[in-house]
Symmetry: C2
Subunit: 453 residues, 2 copies
């Protein structure tokens, strides 16, 4: 197999570039796939990147351009002629063009819009009006539309005619004169049907579609449920306006998971890769939750304040405190994480709350019991003669684990019921709450047993 | 649009079933898509589920069967005749059949294997030998293979002939007589080319492929980099043995993200949905890490032990302790989460470690400073006259945040360098470590300032 692996040709490419053997360089680049070429470009300084980019064939250029960082895109736009720019824009798929426009500075956007043809300009404009992360904002307007009175031969001829400019040609949409979506037919159906068969007879009228304003998360859930290659997007009047393709959905799924990871670690989500984010953006994303959680910890402080006499009398209680609160926090985080993720992938519904509570209580009782027993022996071994403190600690530990898992299991569901994002109820908030609960249990029991306060 | 939404027909379906109007029920089910029918079946008790399942047309049955839970699959297998079972197995795509076989009890597996044709049996056997979560284990053996000397007309004829049984027909693979993969050609290429064109002239010889033993994570990363619909899987000798299709990759991406969520919350990953997992499996998945982390907290206990005299002398230090350790833990988790996720999606490489450290130190210095200043005023307001304790706490807070973010940023990268899973270095472990670090800083400064110990 003649696979031009990027790592294998990388040194060769740099050698040719340094020796200014552009002809041979261009030949190798044409053999490479677009993703690898864009990796090569990303390694070059701006000037050489723009120079190599201008060598590329027109068919490769648009797709490679779409793969570049927005900074590199901007540099290229500023270094090519209007004529070259127009060619790139027309070759770009509209969704890629729109992604780029949302990031570029205003003066560069206006130059792009000026050089685009009126039709492309209108299309980009129309896209930019859809809410962020909606089906409309990730759809592409290039799709194959057929009419129900066409036969298979005519349909294949139409695909041949308009297919070259279309992102996915394998799913064709049957529309009425007013652009109402009437059915869907795949190229597989067309190839397996008789040449004279009429589309109306072979099309599937049971079309799964989304609205332009639906959230992209809804779209990605439907893709994974229904195993589709493309999803039609209709407007409020039921007219077909675009399709979302499976490659964009893969990006959405990864992006949504990343957002949940960030929210669950008490951060505002960011759209760019880590290494591209500036220090001040990070501070803005991280500081608010650190601050809120720091102030919430005041609650634990107030509880401790109240029991000062207890721990001054029995300091060992302080020694064992981190073990108690950390274990409670971990137990709660485990439950919260499972429930938040389960709701995100559609496996758990708010109506399952009682099943969740019942399961968490049983899991917690077993885990809590095992941890408490082992911990008892550990404490007695390390602090001989302190079996009362060991017993109080282990009783508190077991109660804390049960409460922590119940809170961890229910709070994300309650958040969803209140139309809040369940991911907010993740480890950091649970940990802060469980701290307060654990300390209250621990010191209330201790105060009773030791007769202090 | 004539969209048979499941929610809309659900009541009707139950009514027809209860009135035993099976003919009409079967008609509606035939109009519905396979995912919705499987939702309906999942709501029925076992006996009625098996009865309705046997009404389905043969073309629908296999796909609906693949969507059912393994318990329902088992019940159906036990309630159909060998002849019906053989028909289902032959209709199933091999990857779905293998998924099922991995879950079923041994006696059911042996009945399935006995009723399958020898060819299917060999195929399933071959699959079951691939390591779990490898490309081999998720690939399908049904693909279109062409020869390079064929012309476009012959190729389309071959697709028409074998396409009905094939999961994805849009990407065709060109193989030599010894099954070596020589090139790839899409149905789009075929439709846009001349009927007499020879495959060798239009195929792309620069084929991206994976090995049967490659991890599924490698496969899913390549899909999202290269926007593919299917990926060829070759064996060690370079022979084409199967393809991985994009719908399976979507499942892999979701599964891998779920696994990372679970590992990062200190759990062993589980493959089933939450509501299907038993209490004892949950205990087995959660208890080991709770135990390890509980014992690690002993470290904090030992540190506190050493400084007993300090906090007995100044009890306010204990009151402020949860705020300090929680904030440190949260700051560390934020950094660790970003780095672990960044490495999982391929945005951060171990070689970026110095960039990460430098960025985290600057972010931490700013966050730590702001938190410390605000906290100082909060403490002085709540505990008038305690400005020395407030100062010590806030100095410790700032140092802790800087150390926590540095640890959070570097430990996952170091884990990856040591070929460990970076997800292990997530919040719970970072929290435990940061606790120990924070307490050491806090009490060392306090001991010096107050002259105790």
């Amino acid at each position: 197999m003649d696979n031009l692996d990027y790592e294998a040709v990388r040194d060769k490419l740099f050698e040719l570039l340094n020796n200014r053997e552009f002809r041979q360089l261009r030949q190798i680049l044409e053999e490479m796939n677009e993703f690898d070429v864009s990796q090569f470009l990303a390694e070059l300084d701006d000037q050489r990147m723009a120079m190599v980019f201008r060598m590329l064939s027109k068919t490769q250029a648009a797709e490679i351009f779409a793969n570049l960082d927005v900074e590199d895109q901007e540099y290229i736009i500023n270094s090519v002629t209007d004529w070259e720019l127009a060619a790139i824009i027309e070759e770009l798929y509209v969704d890629d063009a729109v992604d780029m426009m949302e990031e570029l500075p205003a003066n560069v956007v206006s130059r792009v819009m000026r050089t685009a043809t009126p039709a492309t300009r209108a299309l980009i404009n129309q896209y930019l009006r859809y809410p962020e992360n909606s089906a409309g904002s990730i759809m592409t307007a290039e799709f194959i539309d057929l009419k129900k009175y066409m036969n298979v031969r005519e349909s294949l001829a139409r695909i041949r005619r308009i297919g070259a400019d279309t992102e996915i040609i394998y799913i064709c949409y049957v529309t009425a004169a007013d652009r109402h979506l009437e059915g869907v037919v795949t190229v597989k159906d067309l190839l397996l049907a008789d040449d004279e068969a009429i589309i109306e007879d072979i099309m599937d009228t049971n079309v799964i579609s989304v609205q332009t304003t639906d959230d992209q998360e809804v779209v990605s859930e439907m893709f994974s449920d229904y195993d589709m290659l493309a999803m039609p997007v209709i407007d409020k009047e039921g007219r077909l306006v675009g399709i979302v393709t499976v490659d964009d959905v893969i990006d959405v799924i990864e992006q949504e998971a990343t957002e949940d990871f960030e929210k669950m670690a008490a951060m505002l989500p960011s759209e760019k890769p880590y290494l591209k984010i500036g220090v001040f953006t990070f501070v803005r994303n991280r500081l608010p939750w650190l601050l809120i959680l720091m102030l919430s910890s005041t609650l634990s402080g107030i509880i401790l304040d109240k029991f000062e006499a207890v721990y001054v009398a029995v300091p060992l209680l302080v020694t064992l405190m981190p073990m108690l609160t950390d274990t409670g926090g971990n137990a709660g985080s485990q439950a919260a994480t499972l429930i938040i993720r389960g709701m995100a992938v559609g496996e758990i519904e708010p109506s399952d709350i009682l099943k969740v509570v019942w399961k968490e209580i049983r899991v917690a009782a077993i885990c809590g019991f095992v941890l408490a027993v082992l911990n008892y022996f550990r404490i007695v071994a390390m602090y001989p003669g302190q079996s009362t403190v060991a017993f109080i600690t282990c009783l508190s530990l077991m109660l804390t684990v049960i409460l922590a898992k119940t809170l961890g299991g229910t709070l994300p569901i309650l958040a969803k019921m209140c139309r809040l994002d369940p991911a907010l109820m993740a480890s950091p908030l649970i940990t802060t709450l469980v701290d307060a609960v654990a300390l209250t249990i621990y010191f209330t029991i201790s105060a009773k047993v030791f007769g202090v306060v």
